[in-house]
Symmetry: C3
Subunit: 292 residues, 3 copies
């Protein structure tokens, strides 16, 4: 791959290749880069796990990471994203990882930019590296995607994670259901109540209530949302044997999930974070090797 | 040590071990780490010397430092400190250095967290690495603690440095006196004037007037505080032979100390900073070795 | 060189040495440092290209870079710049690169500081590393400075780039002309219109309209400024064969230069960025070698 922008543009074969390499890294494989590569992480929105995960993965595959403080850069002087990225390319960078609040910000980078771009989240658009680690987590658990019942609960309309996951999971043969209030279903079909999805799901993926974005949350208190759409202790008891809980995090404890379930046996929430490093090592290595 | 949280939990033997290793590093000893370790510095409050000192010490012992911008992380999205640290643990970090405005923030990390925690300052609580470097500076000067007269001047009630130093120095046999206005003495006995402490002290440690915290400063101007509680040029002349001046810095020149004394012969203020790197190398190495 | 503060203090021989070494680095030469050196970048004003360029150059010559978040340091607690730099020196740093909004901030560092200081921009003062890369870019193009016609268009009164370049270019024998509105000419002679400078210039260097500083911009709209002082498509057509366009960037597209000209054949704007890394490698190596 030259870039990783959207799960729409990633083939099933490319997904398979990344998951296979991630598993090799998890088993202790050494990275295979033939020269020094320079990368930078341009996070124009706050992040802990995605940024730290990329920072760690980049070092683990042997890349040199050039620091970039997005909140203190020339974008404050009105520089376009194109000019910022072209500048980093001129400085000699091989790849940039970008998170930006603008949907599909990367479209202005498709022409004239030679540096590789890894999308770490665009507005309410896509979050392909998170999707890859979700796929890796599910595949490690079940060894397949075909026929799995995956339920995503929460604000899919603003969730780049959900959008990326839905594209990939459906194409890989999983049955994806959505549970959320009507105002959050966006372009998707949705259940407005859990119905029997608790009992039938292999994977229940909860999305963060994005208090900082969700004007539509007004209708619910933390408690009433938790009661109707959250994973309560009572609902968890009804999940089927072997079913797992996922969440892209950060978690609002007590809102989308009961606090006591965050580290319960079924939960893969921190496992997802752990898997993320191996998956991002595979992504970064794949993209850098393509440049040699 | 698994963690370094408070001088209350550090034994005299552990102090001795750290000071001994710091002296070895100062003499040019090589660090002894047997594998790659990942560490991060989570400074939720501004810092120059402590953060830079840890950053330098970590690199000098051979650790890999993963950058973390506390002011631009998911804590802005309401993530708990527990979840942030658990996330970094899942990413593969071995140790985190934390400064946080909340007193004893580390208590919520005592259960369920496996990554090592080094406290770089909790609210008005403790600052153990600063205390260790103060002890190292004093020991290098006098070769002992027993019977030394140490006077601490300033706002002990809000000073985590003072609290850590008082615990350690008293347990090691030093006589600690405090000079400050009544509203700053906190739980300690205090002199409200210098009295004869200038003439009898081996160590005079000045604390920074924390204008950003000290509502109680209202009663004094910079000049009147300097006149009554600061180390004036006149007072310095009355200090006994061999007595030294210390300050955790940053210094308010002309308030707690006359500007011309910051780099005078008796001053160990920048020497403390220099010692800090060796002491923190010893701390970081000790904690990381304990994990192998 | 011990420091690099202003082009006023850099001799023609030192310039020649830096440009020669930059060319060697561009041709693939290996850096020659005999021990580990610690450096930090203290950018108290936002920057993308200068900071990233130094970060990259420092790593490429083999220095260890200690991160420093200027916006989150003890200067927030009122620490003087002298004390901050003296602290970094005590921690063991060999060199600091500083950008600061105060003109000639470095004057308070001339006495008592042993760490090397590289000025990455002081207020409306000097920007010597940018000047060096401008000189490198011009020399690579024309093989000489003597007799070249260089026209600088824009706010020279606030431009540290222009001030550094004018000193160096005139001393090296170039003819420097200035085009700008009267309120921006500062201490220099200026043309208030392009006159025949378009046709006679070998180098046209455009300066950024600093909307964040330029109260005097009030008299112009982006369009009327572009029309009178900007490099329009029409003006570019009248430039002589082999003449080049330069800009220190970030660019206001459509203000000082037509957007379509930023990457035109004559433009060296991103080439300047590329050259900057080689020039800064030469500067950092030169200064660090002088310390061994």
């Amino acid at each position: 791959m030259k870039n990783l922008l959207s799960m729409e543009n990633v083939s099933n074969e490319e997904i398979e290749e990344i998951l296979k390499r991630a598993a090799e890294f998890e088993a202790g494989a050494k990275p295979q880069l033939d020269r020094e590569y320079l990368v930078a992480n341009l996070f124009f929105e706050p992040s802990t796990r995605t940024k730290t995960s990329f920072e760690t993965a980049e070092r683990r595959v042997g890349a040199t990471v050039i620091p970039f403080e997005a909140g203190f850069s020339s974008t404050l002087k009105g520089e376009t994203l194109y000019d910022t990225v072209k500048t980093l390319e001129s400085i000699g960078l091989d790849a940039v990882v970008i998170r930006h609040k603008k949907d599909a910000y990367y479209e202005e980078l498709l022409e004239g930019i030679n540096v590789s771009v890894i999308n770490a989240g665009d507005g309410a658009g896509q979050h392909p590296s998170q999707s890859m680690l979700d796929l890796y987590t599910i595949f490690k658990e079940f060894g397949k995607f075909e026929g799995l019942n995956v339920t995503i609960a929460g604000d899919v309309s603003h969730s780049r994670v959900a959008k990326s996951d839905i594209i990939a999971l459906q194409r890989l043969g999983a049955n994806v259901n959505i549970v959320c209030p009507p105002q959050w279903q966006g372009e998707y079909d949705a259940h407005y109540d859990w119905d029997d999805l608790i009992e039938t799901s292999d994977v229940i993926m909860l999305l963060r209530v994005q208090h900082e974005r969700d004007a539509a949350f007004e209708g619910y208190s933390n408690e009433s949302y938790h009661e109707r759409y959250g994973l309560t202790k009572e609902r968890e008891k009804r999940m089927k044997d072997g079913a797992i809980i996922m969440h892209p995090a950060p978690v609002n404890r007590g809102v989308e999930i009961d606090s006591s379930l965050v580290e319960c046996d079924r939960s893969r929430i921190f496992k997802q974070v752990q898997n993320g490093v191996f998956v991002r090592m595979a992504i970064v290595e794949n993209i850098l090797k393509g440049r040699s």
